[in-house]
Every structure is written in structure tokens, then in C-alpha cells.
């Protein structure tokens, strides 16, 4: 039986504008840093897992596993917890310094949120949440028809997969918790919006950077033309966020970890903007197909002299300088191009545009890029 340890602890997350914000998060081990979001849990349909929650915080902490049934805590069915007749936790919790052991057997594949079920108005906005992916029972990443989100025959095959978790931060609330002041959730006013715990442009950086010890997950989506890119969205905040990927639509194949299909009837649908609702999940397939322009089959317009155009006004660009995939053109002198191989970049962002700022400054916040490479290692876009 897979055993996962989660340690609830505190730490400081950093924002690209230089802010350092106190938060609560889950860590993989007693000595590891609290992280945001919590460690990904990857489980398998039908396989019982055991999750041990160790609480180093000063108030009780519990975990709710949305979409799962038959959850046991220390061998008994989970149940709400009370003190003096007053509800304290939706599920069994670990007291400060204590632990609780949950076991359950996921009966459905899909994408799920796990999050605190104790003082959730405070603990979830403080950072106690993470993503859980349940593989279908027949999952086999080495055989194409079995590398699926929901099982063979469900039209959910994919080539690469990415998890994107939305959340928002009101730094004043975090500071109130840090300083032991009253937590007035009625005054909640977010100043930062995150994907996988980071604000843009940090979202576009790689996983596991030394200088972001508490925010290990990047959000750059990478793939090749024609590939099926599985995007798993999770809404961990208390607000809904409309995520809009440029480049093409996504096909929404499942919501809240349930396939949109009844018997033979397919209910999946395509959208260019998906409203990621609080506490909800959306599995989608993004498939960008090349329009076929190459240097041999040129675009029907003339590329102007780039010295007359705006390129990298902020001193940097992600453009190759060429209209063609896999081709690098000339970028005006003085502009840094982060383009490596002539890959295409498509922005993916919240369309409540104030959320793509860091405390009001664009660019920032809930934004990342989808990068389409002419060719890309199969080792990219694997979720573990």
C-alpha cells in the first residue's frame, strides 16, 4: 500500500515583485520545506493509499479528499469533529503536534483537490491544499491506448500532462495570521493570483528551483504540434477564475474527476475559456495543429522590418523573430529573446485581467505560456 506523509507546517513564499509572504503548507517530510501547493499525490484507481498527516502548526489540521468515499481515519470512518458542541473540522484532524492517518481506495480515476477541512476559511487561503491525480486501473504510460486520463476507450488518450492549480493571496490576511492578529475574512482582498503557487513570470520557470524552495512547481505547458496535451485544472482558491489559453480551444472531458460521458453518449465540449470554480476540477485536452506555414509555404503577408515594430518593449521577448515554427529570426539589438529553438509561445491566463498583475503591476499573477516546440523530449510533461 502506497504511504504518503504530509507535514503541515509554515514557511514564506516569494512573489516576483520581491514580497515574502507567510503561509501554511504541506511538506513531504519532517525536514522538508512547506510547499505550495502541497505535494502532488498520484494514486491508482482501486489501489488503497495511506496518507499520514503530521501537524506542526498551532491549531488542528485535517484533510478533505474531495470525490473519494469510504475514507477511514485511524481505522474508523471519518466524521466531523466538535469542541464543546461546536463544529471544528469537517473530518478527523491532527491536533497540534499530533498526527492522523487516512486510508481510502479511489474508485474513480480523475483529478481531485485535497485541502484542509479545519477552519477552511483560514487554512485553505493560507495554503493547505494540493492536487491529487488518480490513474485509471488500466493505466500504462508505455502503451498509447492505455495512456489515458479515464481508461482505455474513453477518448482521453494524451501525450503529455500538466496540473494547474489556481489560488489567490491577500497578504494582509497572511500577515494577520503570522502576527496572531484577528483573521477578518470579510476584508479579503487579493493582491496576488497564482498558478501552482507562483505568480508570473515565476510560473514560467522550471520545477524545483533552489531560490523558490517553497514553490516547487512550474506551470509552463510544453508540447509538439498535434499532440494531445492534457491540462488538469484545479480551483483551490475561494474565487472562480476564467482561464483562457491562446492558440486553440480545449476539449473539456471531465469535471470534478468524473468523465463527461454516459454509456456511449459523449458530453465533452470545447471552450476557449473555462471558468475554474472554487474547489472544482476540469480535465481538458489541448491540441494545437499547425496551420502549415513553412519557409517553403510562406505566410500570405509580409513580415515588416522589425525595427519599425514593437518587439520586446520590456527588454525581453519570447518570440523567435520568425513566423515559422523551428526557425529563429533576427531580434532587434538590445532585446533578450528567451526563445530556444524557434518554438511558439501562447499565453494562458485568467481573463479577469486584473489577476494577471502582481499587486496591480502587469505582467504577473495568474498567467503562464503554452510552448509548442518543433520537437520535444518525451520526458517533458510527465506528472509524478
Amino acid at each position: 500500500m502506497p504511504v504518503i506523509d504530509l507535514w503541515a507546517k509554515d514557511g514564506y513564499l516569494s512573489t516576483p515583485d520581491g514580497n515574502s509572504i507567510y503561509f501554511w503548507g504541506f511538506s513531504k517530510s519532517e525536514t522538508g520545506p512547506a510547499q505550495l501547493p502541497g505535494p502532488h499525490i498520484v494514486a491508482r484507481q482501486g489501489e488503497t493509499i495511506n496518507i499520514n498527516l503530521y501537524n506542526t502548526l498551532t491549531e488542528p489540521v485535517s484533510i478533505s479528499f474531495s470525490g473519494q468515499s469510504g475514507i477511514m481515519a485511524d481505522g474508523q470512518p471519518v466524521q466531523p469533529q466538535y469542541t464543546d458542541g461546536k463544529l471544528l473540522s469537517f473530518f478527523n484532524h491532527a491536533e497540534p503536534g499530533g498526527m492522523v492517518s487516512y486510508t481510502f481506495t479511489p474508485s474513480f480515476p480523475g483529478t481531485f483537490i485535497y485541502e484542509s477541512g479545519t477552519n477552511p476559511h483560514k487554512q485553505v487561503p493560507m495554503g493547505l491544499y494540493g492536487g491529487m491525480v488518480v490513474r485509471p486501473a488500466d493505466y500504462n504510460p508505455d502503451a498509447r491506448e492505455f495512456k489515458t486520463a479515464y481508461g482505455a476507450g474513453t477518448d482521453t488518450e494524451y501525450d503529455r500532462e500538466y496540473l494547474l492549480i489556481t489560488w489567490e493571496i491577500d497578504p494582509d490576511m497572511h500577515q494577520a495570521v503570522e502576527e496572531g492578529k484577528p483573521y477578518q475574512v470579510s476584508k479579503f482582498l487579493p493582491r496576488y493570483w497564482t498558478l501552482n503557487g507562483r505568480c508570473a513570470p515565476d510560473t514560467m520557470l522550471m520545477d524545483g528551483l533552489d531560490y523558490l524552495p517553497h514553490q516547487p512547481y512550474g506551470s509552463m505547458i510544453m508540447g509538439q504540434p498535434g499532440e494531445k496535451i492534457l491540462m488538469r485544472y484545479i480551483g483551490a482558491g475561494i474565487e472562480n477564475h476564467p482561464l483562457h489559453p491562446h492558440g486553440t480551444h480545449t476539449r473539456v472531458v471531465a469535471v470534478d474527476g468524473r468523465l463527461l460521458r454516459n454509456e456511449n453518449v459523449d458530453l465533452s465540449f470545447k471552450r476557449f475559456t473555462v471558468l475554474v470554480g472554487a474547489g472544482q476540477t476540469y480535465d481538458q485536452i489541448y491540441q494545437w495543429d499547425d496551420l502549415g506555414y513553412t519557409t517553403q509555404n510562406p505566410i500570405p503577408t509580409i513580415l515588416p522590418n522589425l525595427r519599425n515594430m514593437g518587439v520586446g518593449d520590456a527588454g525581453w521577448t519570447m518570440w523567435s523573430g520568425s513566423p515559422y515554427l523551428g526557425v529563429k529570426g533576427d531580434i532587434p539589438v538590445g532585446v533578450v529573446s528567451y526563445n530556444e529553438f524557434g518554438e511558439y509561445y501562447f499565453m494562458l491566463h485568467s481573463h479577469e485581467e486584473l489577476q494577471i498583475t502582481n499587486w496591480g503591476e502587469f505582467p504577473g499573477g495568474m498567467m503562464t505560456m503554452v510552448a509548442i516546440y518543433p520537437s520535444l523530449s518525451p520526458a517533458v510533461g510527465i506528472l509524478e
Binding site: L87, N262, A278
Partner: protein
Amino acid sequence: MATITRVLQVSTGSLSLPGGNIPFWGFADALRVIPQLPGPIIEATAGDRILIFLMRNFFRPIGEPISILFPGQENVLVRKIPGGPFILEPVKPQYSSGKIISFTNFLDELQDLIIEYSFIARKAGIYLYESGTNPEKQIQMGLYGIIIIRPPGYNNPGHPNFKTAYGTDTNSFFDVEKILVLSEIDSVMHNDVLPNVYYDMLKFKPDNWVINGRSFPDTVNEDNNSSQPYGSQINCRVGQRVLLRIVNAGLQNHTLNLGGFVGLVVAEDSFPLKTSTLDATYEKTSLTLGSGQRMDIIITPNASGEYYLFDRGYHHLVNNDHFPGGMMTKINVSS
């Protein structure tokens, strides 16, 4: 087909909330006199004629024109004494200086005695009735209620539509039914509102989050005779099909988490998702409802115990900034 007749009044009253009592405006059964939140539940069968008399209130009027709008119902007719129209005619928005002042015909309590609205309850489902006059103010002040329309044969054991929300073959058979009307209350606005004076809705900032007009823990108390008569605790047994009829009467969007259950969405805005040509029912663990939307969900608990249904917008689970409170209720599953 029957005619369902209700006589309603609109009255000022008082709501009991965790922060104290605040004034509100509510619909009242004319005989019962006490205004309530939500308004009295009106129940009919598809095909029935629903006839609603809204009577002038001589004792505790709110002091401004009042009306009832029936979203989801078609071809509503109206007549009014003594202001007219005297013969039934289609409802229509009311204008002053070329601009809408009411979405439907209204009762002016300085001049009129009674206004009558009627329509055929065309299709099964759960609907709101609500103020159509100064609705941003009057609906927030409490002027909304629920209409349930049953499919024919609903009460008739042996009929294929027996105990279904939408009739046979819509996957809406149920053992237990609970209506959950979501809303939010701005207590400052309730204290400051004046009749016939425009309220600055830019100041709207709700501080109470309610199901059936109550915030937790009052939600789990039983039905009673107060101005907040409807509890929302759900009691059921393992294996029963529990129909949750979720209605967002608030001005804001809300996301209800089903407390760890996975619900089958069988209807949205009272349009069943399973029809003769398509089964579009689907499963969810949390449901986001826009203002005015309704969803019918079936959950089938497979283990006994206590569970909480709550607003996943966690900032709405507080009373005076303290958890637990707000938009939350309980499901008790016995074996």
C-alpha cells in the same frame, strides 16, 4: 387541472441573524400575516393554473410599490383593482419618462387594493418568484420565494411519475427531497434602506450567508413558525436517493460543496438533462450556481454518518468572521 390560489402580502418584519436582529421585507400568506424568508412555498402540478393575489398591506407596508415576477414561467397574465387592467392581460414592464421603473405590473399601495397574477404551470421544476420592482433592493430585502411544480402523477403510487422531480425516465426519482435556497444578506443595507429612495448598490457588501434565510448553525434547526421558517438539515438513510433542489436567490454566485458526496446533476434551471433523445446528466462534487440559477442533484449516501454541505467559497462559512457559520448545513445519514 386544478387552480392553485394563494393570497400574499408584502410586509416589514425582523430577521434573526448571528449579529442580531435586522429589518427585512418578506412575502406573507395573507392569513398568517408574518412575513417570511424565503416566502411561502407554492406547490402545483404541471398543467395547473397558478393564481396569486398580492394584497395591499394596511398594517406593515414597506412603503413602496410591489410586484411579483415569475422567472421561468411564460405567458403570465395580470389584472388589478382598482388601478386596472380590469380584464386579464399579459404582464408588461412599467415605464416612467421612457425608462423601465418595474419589470412587471405593480401594486401601488397608496391607490390599489389587489393585483392578480396568473399563469399555467407549464413544466415541472423548481422556480423562484421574486420582486420585479426595485428588485436590487426588494430582493435583497427578502422578497423572494419558491414555486415547485410537480409532474402529473407525482402523488400517485404506481404512476410512473410517482416521486420524481421531472417525470419518468428523467432519472429524478427520489426518496427524500430538500430545497436549499442560497442567498446573502447585507445587514448594513437592511438597516439603511428607505422606501422610495434609491439605494446605492455600489455599497452592497453582504455580511451574512444563508440557506433558506438562516445561517449555520440555525440552518440545522427544524422548521418553525418564525420569519425564517425553513430548516435545511437533511435526514436520510443509507441507499436512499436524496434530491437536493438548489436555488440561488442571491445577487452573487455561490459554489455549494456536497460534503464529500458525488451528486448526479439531473436538471439545470428546471430543464431535465435526461430526455428521450439524450442522457446529459453528469456528476459533480461542487456546484457553482450563478444568480437566479437552479440545479437539481441526486445524492445516494452509501455510508451512515454526519456530513456537511457548505459553500466552497470558504469566506462564506463564517458568522462575524468566525468559523463555523454562514452558508452551511448538515446531512444525517442513518443506517
